[in-house]
Every structure is written in structure tokens, then in C-alpha cells.
């Protein structure tokens, strides 16, 4: 089955590259949704490119935002439009002008947390439901079935399937409607770890093969770090941050009293060496400095690796450690020191890359660390965490 995921044949029947014709530029959102206990206020252009993550805790408004884009949210005031460089803007909703495009007219797909399959239809029946209603069909049903690994399940009733299988049917069905934008609302949250990994790979492959822009809602930063290039963070119905995923995560390290995430350094680095002969892989941080981590044979398919290092897993040394078992030591300059009670968050730049380190106030005092001071960071190879399990 990996062959299907790795081969580069297009999914369309006539091998026309869809994206060239229908590429969307941007989703312009300016809406507010109010309920008694909850308000969502979002004014933001979202460039539709790859997979954009939408992160936040429960009741942050993530799902409401997706429902608004899909046309399912009734309590909405404002405007949502698809702006495209070559074509006139497509207004999805504009309450001021009284424009409202029904969900069935928006060409937007949505994969729900709870598959929402039609129980009176078989797996194939569910897929055909989407195919029959799709105008200008370009996708090859069989290729999508193969890609989502549903070949052996086609005749089954949907309530006979496991959670992971149901979500694969839901994903295949959503794609077969051939939307211009796919929304994913916590698609993995009800699944076990194995199914999660499998479905995430499928989502990534499909995104690349169809060049289909996706908005991916999750409360799990872990999931989003694996697939998203851009991250939108919501809290209490407001946009907290939006931009490159690593930059956003780094900015969240300094977020208020109750941090939304574990403080960390989030990285996406080229692989210099899969295995140095001792079971360690080597990533190129910059021309001079490398990062070592535990190797995994799954790295071999990739040139770039996403990983993160928790701020609490890095320690500070004033002189270059030469007699330590800890393999990673990087030279850097302290950029920022922020104290919170007895903990200190250090931002240390190593070349162009910032690293985040938490130490105790006691250690800071003992080493008398100050801004612009040059220090060594050290962390074990096992502290560099990847998403490959």
C-alpha cells in the first residue's frame, strides 16, 4: 500500500493538473458569531496554501469558524469570500448585502470528527453518493479508493467498520465531491495512535497529489506540527496568532499566565545523515552546527525533518562541554530573559535559529546570566522529538 502513497501518478482520469486551473488564493474572513456564553470575532485573510492548522482549546471557536466557512453556522454576521487572483471574488456569505451561498453550493468539503457516514448505504454507496452529486468530475473513483485503502471494504456496511476505517471513508467521500477547499474538524481525535498516523499520512499525500488547500482544526499541536506549514491560533473566539507554524509556536512560548502549549523549540531541518553509524541521525541546523537525534528508518524517505525540543529538556553551560555524554551542544547568544515566579524562559539565538530554554531562577542567578551573553546549550539526542512513532 505504500506504493500508492509514494507513486506520483495523478488522481485525475485525464491527467489534467487541477491546481493550474482552480488555484485559490485566499479566504477573506470578517465575521462575528455570538451565542449567550460565547463570541467569535475573526477578521483575517487566510492564504489557501497547503494545510493551514487551526489550533486552540475547546470553546476557542475553532469548529464554529469551520462551520461558518462551510455555511452551517446560522448565527453569523459579516462576510466570508474566496478571493482569487484571476477570477472575481466568490462571496460565500455577506449578511450586510443579504448574500448567502448554501453549503451545497460552496464546493467546500468537511470531514467531521464523527465520520457522519450514511448508515443505509454501504462503503461504496457512501462514496458514490458524493460522486453522483459532483459536477465536472475529474477524479478517478478507483484511484481514490486505492489511495484511502478501502478496496477490501467497499461492500461493507459502515457500522461494521472501525473508527479509523470510518474516517477513511469520510475522507474519501469528501474528496470525491471534489471541493475547492477541504475542512477537517478534529478528524483524528476519536482514533487510536496507529490509525492517527495512517490517516495523517493519507491527508498529507492527498493534499500534495490534488494540491487541495485544507484547513485543519485540532486541539492537538502534535498533529498540526506534522502536517501544517501555517498555524492559526484561537483563544476565546479571537485570533491569537497567525503565520509560519514554527514562528507561531515560538511566540506562544511567551503566551500569558496559562501557556497554550508546552514551551518548546519547533524545527524543520534538512537531514544531513540518516545514520552516523551509531544509530543517530544528523540534522543541519546551519553551515557550522548540527543536531543529533535518534535515527529511525522512516527518516530515509525524507529530506526534511520536523522535530521539537521541549524548553525544559535543554540546559545551559558557560564553557564548551567536552566531557559529557550529551551529544548536542550548540553555541548561542542570549536574546531575551523573561522571569515568571521561579522559572526563567531564555531565548537564545544560534545563528538565525532561536532556541527556547527554561531554567530555574536559582540557576540563572548562579550562572549570572544576562542578555547578549554567549553560552552553550546542551541537550541529549533523545530530547529531539519527532512525530514518527
Amino acid at each position: 500500500m505504500s506504493n500508492v502513497l509514494l507513486d506520483n501518478t495523478p488522481l485525475t482520469k485525464d491527467a489534467v493538473h487541477k491546481s493550474a486551473v482552480h488555484k485559490l488564493a485566499q479566504l477573506d474572513i470578517n465575521i462575528s458569531v455570538s451565542y449567550q456564553q460565547f463570541n467569535l470575532d475573526i477578521k483575517l485573510p487566510i492564504p489557501l496554501n497547503g494545510i493551514t492548522g487551526i489550533f486552540g482549546h475547546s470553546a476557542s471557536g475553532k469548529s464554529t469558524l469551520l462551520r461558518a466557512i462551510a455555511g452551517l453556522e446560522k448565527n453569523l454576521v459579516g462576510e466570508i469570500k474566496l478571493a482569487n487572483a484571476n477570477v472575481a471574488d466568490k462571496v460565500l456569505v455577506n449578511t450586510e448585502k443579504g448574500n448567502y451561498l448554501k453549503p451545497e453550493e460552496r464546493q467546500i468539503g468537511l470531514v467531521f470528527q464523527n465520520s457522519r457516514l450514511f448508515e443505509h448505504l454501504s462503503v461504496l454507496g457512501n462514496l458514490e453518493y458524493a460522486v453522483k452529486r459532483c459536477k465536472n468530475r475529474q477524479l478517478d473513483l478507483n484511484k481514490v479508493i486505492e489511495l484511502t485503502e478501502l478496496t477490501s471494504l467497499l461492500e461493507h456496511q459502515v457500522n461494521e467498520l472501525s473508527g479509523g476505517q470510518q474516517q477513511r471513508v469520510a475522507l474519501a467521500r469528501a474528496i470525491l465531491a471534489e471541493p475547492k477547499l477541504l475542512l477537517l474538524d478534529e478528524p483524528l481525535s476519536a482514533l487510536d495512535q496507529h490509525s492517527k498516523t495512517q490517516l495523517l499520512k493519507m491527508i498529507l499525500t492527498i493534499q500534495k497529489k490534488l494540491d487541495l488547500p485544507m484547513l485543519y482544526v485540532s486541539h492537538s499541536l502534535d498533529e498540526l506540527q506534522q502536517v501544517c506549514d501555517t498555524l492559526l491560533v484561537l483563544a476565546q473566539g479571537k485570533v491569537v496568532n497567525f503565520g509560519n507554524i514554527h514562528r507561531v509556536i515560538h511566540q506562544l512560548n511567551n503566551f500569558g499566565e496559562n501557556p497554550l502549549i508546552h514551551q518548546q523549540t519547533s524545527l524543520s531541518l534538512p537531514i544531513r545523515q540518516f545514520n552516523n553509524g551509531h544509530g543517530l541521525a544528523v540534522l543541519a541546523l546551519n553551515a557550522q552546527q548540527d543536531i543529533y537525534l535518534t535515527s529511525n528508518k522512516a527518516f530515509e524517505n525524507q529530506t526534511q525533518l520536523r522535530c521539537f525540543i521541549l524548553a525544559s529538556d535543554i540546559s545551559i553551560v558557560l564553557t564548551e562541554p567536552s566531557n559529557s555524554s550529551i551529544v548536542n551542544h550548540l553555541f548561542g547568544t542570549i536574546k531575551q530573559i523573561s522571569n515568571k515566579q521561579n522559572k526563567v524562559l531564555l531565548t537564545i539565538s544560534c545563528g538565525t535559529q532561536d532556541f527556547f530554554v527554561t531554567i530555574s531562577a536559582f540557576s540563572q542567578q548562579k550562572l549570572s546570566l544576562t542578555s547578549k551573553q554567549q553560552v552553550y546549550l546542551q541537550f541529549k539526542a533523545s530530547a529531539v522529538r519527532t512525530f514518527i512513532h
Binding site: 500500500m1 455555511g71 451545497e104 464546493q107 450514511f118 458524493a130 452529486r133 461494521e160 498516523t197 495512517q198
Partner: protein
């Protein structure tokens, strides 16, 4: 004459069939509306629909008799449109039956629509299905059992109607003389043999109809071996 009983049977079946069809046509949108309704008028409409369950049929029959008579507007309008009197006609007993059997059709449908919820309809709309399409491709197949129940209960209840028909239909052979009325006639005439025949036929007929409904409503799973296939788990997996 057994012939007159046969005619009563035909009239009864015609009335019940027509009533059921009309009830499905008006009951379905009404049940849908009630299922989706959230404002306070919902309880009032629900109460009106349920009224025939508690009201003596003669009360409803009495008001309908007045309304259908040529002295009042509904009866007048009917007479102008058709040239015939509404009261004591086949049409009158069909209208009466529709009102009288309304809750038996609306309530099971409303419950089914409420249970179905919006989630699958939302999924359907995002796959490009419009409202009519969604009704026939999602709602109808998933609430089929409730439609069968509603239609059968509406039909059976109409067959068993007595008081309201006596009030607004009278006892005109071939027009408004239905089985329950014919049975009453036989008893009044002390013709117990024919009364027995009609009574036992109605009893057995109703019994068979109800048994058929319950059988049709059995979950299909009970008749079919449940197959849990999990071949995916044993497939070699290259992601690891």
C-alpha cells in the same frame, strides 16, 4: 344481504387508503416543521395535532358537522366549488378521518425526524445535495420504518373510526356507510350473526396489520449475521 357488507368494506378501504395518502402528504411536512421548530408555538401546534387522541370523536364530529353544513363558510365554499353538499358525503368522512388520524401519522414521523438530527443532513449538503435531494436520499431511507408505522397506524385507525363518521357521514350505502357503522346497524337490528362476522373480520384484519407493522420494524440486523471485518489490522503495514 352480505352484498351490503361488501360494499361497506370497499367504502372503508377507499376511505382509509385516501386518508392515509393525504395524511402522508400533509403530515410529513408538518412533522418536519415540528421537529425543527424551536419557538414557543411548537407546543401549541403539537397540542392541536394531539387533540384527537383525547377528544371524544363526537365532539370533533359535531363541530365538523356544523362547519360542513351549507349555512357555514367551509360548507358554502365546498358547495360553490363542487356543486355538491359537503356534509354526509364521502369527502366529508375523508376530511374528518384526516383530522382524526393526524396524530397517528405526525407523531411517529416527528419523533423519527428529531432522532435523525441535523448531522447527516449537514454531511449531505456538503457533498452537494440540496434539500429535496437530502430528503429522498437521506431522510426517507433512514426513517423508512417510521413512515411504515405512520401509514399503517393512520390506515388502521381510520378503519376503526366510528363516532365522527356517524356525526358527519350518516349512513349512506356506497357513500358513507363503513364497516363500523354497518356493524352497529346489525347489532341494532339484532342480527348478531352478521355482526359477529364483521366484528371478527375487523379484529383479525387489524391484528394482521399490526403484526405486519411490528415485523417490518424489526431491525434488519436481527435477521442477518453480523459480520465484523477487521482485515485492516492484519494487513502488513509499511508505515511502521
Amino acid at each position: 344481504m352480505i352484498n351490503s357488507d361488501l360494499q361497506a368494506l370497499i367504502t372503508t378501504l377507499e376511505m382509509a387508503a385516501l386518508t392515509t395518502i393525504i395524511l402522508l402528504i400533509i403530515g410529513t411536512p408538518l412533522a418536519w416543521y415540528l421537529a425543527k421548530m424551536t419557538n414557543r408555538f411548537k407546543v401549541i401546534i403539537e397540542a392541536i395535532v394531539a387533540l384527537p387522541l383525547v377528544l371524544p370523536p363526537t365532539v370533533l364530529g359535531f363541530y365538523l358537522l356544523i362547519a360542513f353544513s351549507p349555512e357555514y363558510l367551509p360548507g358554502q365554499l365546498w358547495q360553490q366549488a363542487t356543486g355538491k353538499q359537503l356534509a354526509f358525503s364521502f369527502s366529508a368522512i375523508v376530511i374528518g378521518s384526516v383530522l382524526y388520524s393526524l396524530p397517528f401519522v405526525v407523531q411517529p414521523l416527528q419523533k423519527a425526524f428529531e432522532q435523525l438530527g441535523d448531522s447527516l443532513l449537514e454531511a449531505g449538503s456538503l457533498l452537494g445535495a440540496g434539500p429535496i435531494d437530502r430528503f429522498f436520499s437521506i431522510v426517507l431511507p433512514l426513517t423508512k420504518a417510521s413512515f411504515i408505522t405512520a401509514a399503517s397506524l393512520g390506515f388502521a385507525h381510520t378503519v376503526g373510526e366510528f363516532g365522527i363518521i356517524l356525526m358527519i357521514g350518516g349512513n349512506i350505502p356506497g357513500e358513507t356507510r363503513v364497516l363500523s357503522i354497518a356493524l352497529f346497524d346489525h347489532v341494532e337490528a339484532f342480527d348478531y350473526a352478521r355482526a359477529h362476522l364483521l366484528a371478527i373480520s375487523l379484529l383479525i384484519g387489524s391484528m394482521i396489520l399490526l403484526a405486519a407493522i411490528y415485523w417490518l420494524n424489526l431491525p434488519k440486523k436481527n435477521r442477518r449475521q453480523r459480520l465484523v471485518v477487521n482485515t485492516e489490522q492484519v494487513e502488513p503495514n509499511s508505515y511502521e
